[in-house]
Symmetry: C2
Subunit: 341 residues, 2 copies
């Protein structure tokens, strides 16, 4: 079996944090240096980088950068707050920031930068390893020969520190010669499926078919896919899954057609302090994302917009949740706790 | 109660057929003269005009135009075939063309144009009356006070010869002061919801909120709407509904949240020769509609695309079908026959 790898990365440290500017994909690959916590928070809000694990790693490295610029604790605590509040839904962000801040607080002032950077690198490596482990666990969910999988948004290398969560499973199957085809929903309004997932697939030689979000139910009705695989931004204690808006509709269609609905997320995405999906804060984004596509106006300026970035899929519609610690199946409070951090 | 009207029209006859070029909306209102059957067929294929009833009326007027240019039967039969084959899914197109061709065949050669034009006008008036009737029938489905409704794509004045099918119900409720809000799914890939439905609503003063297709299930989960109202392109004998791709996903979400799923379509859209949805031909459109939005490229050129223009919602997910003849509820072969032509 070929090694499971990718040629894609969302972020890197080159004597400073650099982000692949995902707003410009697939047209252009441009690495953006991010020197401060404020710049990182703005980059996260503007979707230069997105995907719960990648956002967490971005914040971790950005806080390390700040420790180099000014190792004073009051300053770093303020920077941590700024980073942690940049987006509300993903669980990884607050967790990563808290972790790096704790490392900083426990270090002597002259070692804060080195310790924080080492801790950020360790989180990055742990996330890469988690992706590989999720890939292996996910492969075991699909028996027999080749399968075609449907995914939503981007839960790939661009969303994580490794081969991806949902796309980690896709890549692991592909490396074994067991992936017939990846179907990718485009994920309006920001089109991460079209711009990012399709780009990752083309770049890594994964056979890929793109579709409008509204076409997914008919694809499932045709029997064209054997599984739906998605990532998550936060998983509640009962197994409710907050993920890119549109995931819930996929879960409903998958249930109707008895297609497994698989959620892959590292343990950093689990938040057992949320008892159910109702406790997960859902980010509402501006109307211009829907009234415009890229720069083109597609709707009257006067029209109101409902634009939640995420939705919540209840556990009864999720066949399995995969973390690096294993598989929760069926999905309930007990099995989720078994694969949680 | 105020009269139920609209300021919007999709087509008109001014000593010749003119189409409001829907490709340019909402940015620009431009009427395109369409002199020949070939030009009409190309306009239909290019989505200058769309919506099953509006397509049927376009073809009817275009065939009348051809009878003015050349009343010879062989010529007109060829023109009829060209028109009828321009798009495969909508039922109104073939029915309208057959009707006008029959009128032509039964008329003396020197009266073919006048008779065909009169017949096209009669179809147009009948469709406008059907829209008003559907509006009245639809209002009766929603009891009590104000309601918010969710619609998909455009089943409005731009899709019909009157106030619309689904939007006819919306307008009838609005005229009674009983519409709290219209929610409109944008309907990727061609964005008829964003470009057309939102524009109709703004123009006619209907309070409207736009959303990405993937956000509809979360809107239904929030309890924000009391009904989903959509049009149809073809209704099979068992009550299966072919409509704009994405309708099926809405029906699944509506069923999950016990929100009525109402389909409004004039009898011209019914095709009892199709026993079930499996017999309805589903148009597959080119990949560029998904790889690009307006002129902007949003996905790699190399990626494959799955782009069905329509999907089929099975009758068990449809709460009611409304035609100008009444309401089928529950939806089954017997009730559908009762409101069919």
């Amino acid at each position: 079996m070929a090694e499971v790898t990718t040629s894609v990365a969302a972020l890197r440290w080159r004597d400073g944090l650099e982000l692949l500017d995902q707003r410009l994909l697939p047209a252009r690959e441009s690495w953006l240096p991010v020197a401060t916590a404020g710049a990182a928070a703005r980059a996260i809000q503007a979707l230069v980088v997105r995907g719960a694990p990648a956002i967490g790693l971005t914040a971790a490295y950005a806080l390390a950068s700040e420790a180099r610029a000014d190792p004073e604790l009051t300053h770093l605590r303020r920077a941590a707050r700024r980073l942690a509040s940049s987006r509300p839904t993903g669980a990884d962000l607050a967790r990563a920031v808290q972790h790096i801040l704790r490392v900083i607080e426990e270090a002597p002032q002259e070692q804060r930068f080195e310790r924080a950077l080492a801790a950020a690198r360790a989180l990055h490596e742990a996330d890469a390893a988690a992706c590989l482990a999720m890939g292996e666990h996910g492969v075991a969910l699909f028996h027999g020969g080749s399968v075609s999988l449907l995914t939503h948004c981007n839960a790939g290398a661009l969303a994580t520190g490794g081969i991806g969560s949902a796309l980690g499973i896709v890549r692991a199957l592909h490396a074994r010669g067991r992936l017939a085809r990846l179907y990718a929903c485009e994920a309006r309004p920001v089109l991460q499926g079209a711009r990012l997932t399709a780009w990752e697939a083309v770049r890594d030689g994964i056979p890929c078919t793109l579709l409008a979000d509204g076409a997914a139910a008919s694809l499932l009705a045709r029997g064209s896919v054997q599984g739906v695989v998605v990532g998550a931004d936060r998983i509640a204690a009962d197994g409710s899954v907050a993920n890119k808006v549109g995931t819930y509709a996929l879960a409903l269609a998958a249930a109707r057609h008895a297609v497994p609905m698989v959620v892959a997320a590292p343990t950093t995405t689990f938040d057992l302090t949320c008892p159910t999906g109702d406790s997960i804060p859902i980010e509402q984004r501006g109307g211009e994302e829907v009234r415009r596509v890229r720069r083109a106006r597609v709707a009257p300026e006067e029209v109101d917009v409902y634009n939640p970035a995420f939705d919540v899929t209840p556990p009864d519609l999720v066949t399995a949740i995969v973390s690096e610690r294993g598989v929760a199946r069926p999905v309930n409070a007990v099995t989720v706790r078994g694969i949680a951090p």
